[in-house]
Amino acid sequence: MNYSQYILLIPLLPLAGFLVLGLFGKSYFNKSAGIIGTLFLLVAAILSLYTAYNYFFIDGKVNGVYQSIIPFKYTWLSFSENISIDMGFVLDPISVMMLVVVTFVSLMVHIFSLWYMKGEERFSTYYAFLGLFTFSMLGLVISTNIFQIYMFWELVGVSSYLLIGFYYDKPSAVAASKKAFIVTRFADLAFLIGILILGFQAETLDFGTLIQRLTDIQSSQFIGITTASFFGVSLLTWALTLVFIGGAGKSAMLPLHIWLPDAMEGPTPVSALIHAATMVVAGVYLVARLFPVFHINQASLHIVTFVGVASALFAAIIACTQTDIKRVLAYSTMSQIGYMMFSLGISGIGGENGLGYTASLFHLFTHAFFKSLLFLAAGAVIHLVHSNELKDMGGLKRYMPVTHIVFLVACLAISGIFPFAGFFSKEEILLASYESNKIVYAIALFTSGLTAFYMFRLYFSIFWNKQKDLHSHHGEGNMSMKIPLWILAVCTCTAGFISFGKYVSADGKELASHFHILFSIVPVTVSLLGILLAMLLYKKENGKPQAISNSLGGLYKTAYHKFYIDEVYLFITKKIIFNLVGRPAAWIDKNIIDGIMNGIAGVTASISSAIKGIQSGKVQSYALYFFAGIIAMAIVFVYLWK
């Protein structure tokens, strides 16, 4: 199969969409921009499905192992003989899987937005940005080169920035976009340094070669990077940790998650695409990409595990207390990504050991569907009630039956109820963690229960509970809204049955799906308990939730305020960085450095004024000076300095 004939079209079509719409959209086809963008993406999605088909079923496998195929590679910027940034296109299980996910979800969002964003003033700009984002995300997943991934990493960051700030005249949106960019930028700094260390120690930036060299314990590069140490920690650990920090920033892992809830200021479809299904899992993808290297350095893998678990639990707790539905979803995203992370963290390579890896990516895959579904549905709800707040909602199931159904499906999926997609992937994660680390398993299990609780809290609050007055009654929406919801709902129901391990595994070999009925009893029970609890509390309007939150007191408040992490950040930036670094720098520049420069001028002027008396206008003084000059010269040059 010759991929190179068309493969580049997949990322380039969205880019073309971006360019066309960005440059000419506003003036020439503001109205039809959505259609154009969607068409571009439709083609891209079809092409990626076609590619996936070809790869997984026709020619991806050689001797039972999935190969990475590089149909395209171009040296973009060469630094030295070994080190160069290549723009390439790699096909391997995870990238192909991501291709499908990205184009598919993006397509859904495009279609959904046709309805959702209708009538927006910057309709074409919106689609242009979506195109840009899709392009960047595709570029990210197909990277053959660690620097390529960094570039697209930055590009998705900026697209995210642009989309979060789409409602630019809302100060909160502006602030959120800024925050998202800066926080992830901070993480990217770590990523960049990590890349520098890895790249230079491995003497390559190419993923394939890099992984090969750094997993071969005999190679000089491996010896070099492991023996060199900095503050007693080997360079490899440093590098991987730094790379992981980069990933954690994008994936909103603790403590770099603070931008994600705020990012919900963007249009909801955008949240579905970027902040639920695709961009935020880039961190997971990154770790998966470098998994062999992480695996060889257990220390960094432990960090991944720890951060993943902590984020999963932490986000779930906060999610229980939030009242903004998008924020709840955002925390749930964070929590689910935490799952994926620690699943990677506890994984090994090869056969059964690699279950965590497969599970993680499986969860990534299924999560993309049900989480985007959740967001889109939430979007529909918000569109109807013009509010994000739970208190403005209730009893909506009458008004929006389709939304109700798909939302329920998605909630069940995320809670891990058979036979929805989430069940399969989550079971695998729990299984993997059970097998490797019981504490992790326990926390994961608890989190799973929490997940079910807060998701159904959401579900019941929106669709059941007491009906609120609705100001607008313009129905649920047209086909372009419903179609994506249905499609995603169908995917949510069926995706779990894909035997994912056949295609994606840590070592490229087939990994049989494990399905232990016995094992899944416990998690499902826990989830059901969570659902039950939610039902009790939120199905009908009652005072219990209030009472419980009151009784929890400080704990609840702390969780409600997201454990005050935002405030800590605010303190560090506003008080410390601005006041203790920025202001002094500006002050020093204005007063000291500039002062010295001006001072030189001032001193010159004052010397000039001090010696003006020499030029007294009295000719006899002149003569005296004249003579004194001669005497001085005579003494100096006759006697002292011959």
Binding site: K612, G613, G617, K618, V619, Q620
Partner: protein, 104 residues
């Protein structure tokens, strides 16, 4: 004749030179300043003559120099006095301390 060492004569001329200089520095009247200049030139003349006579008697360079200096001194004095007179006419004062309009 030769019993006077040359340095004694030079002492006299040098002293004359510095007396003239002192006058130039301290006299406030412009004309007296001019006189001081004449003293200075005189001392130089003595120098030339003495050097010529005692050290280099084969040529008359010193003598001639002296003659020319005397001529120049006259010209200089004439011009200076003209200027002083003009100043006096315009300003009614030839006190050098008052000729300090331009300074700094």
């Amino acid at each position: 004749m030769n019993e006077i060492p040359i340095s004694h004569i030079l002492f006299v001329s040098t002293a004359l030179f510095f007396i003239g200089m002192y006058g130039l520095f301290t006299r406030r009247n412009m004309i007296t300043m001019l006189m001081a200049i004449e003293l200075i030139l005189n001392s130089v003349n003595i120098n030339f003559v003495v050097f010529n006579k005692y050290l280099y008697p084969d040529k008359l360079d010193g003598i001639f120099f002296t003659i020319f200096i005397i001529a120049i001194a006259a010209a200089e004095a004439a011009v200076a006095i003209a200027i002083i007179i003009n100043l006096y006419r315009n300003h009614q004062s030839i006190d050098v301390e008052e000729a300090e309009e331009m300074k700094f």
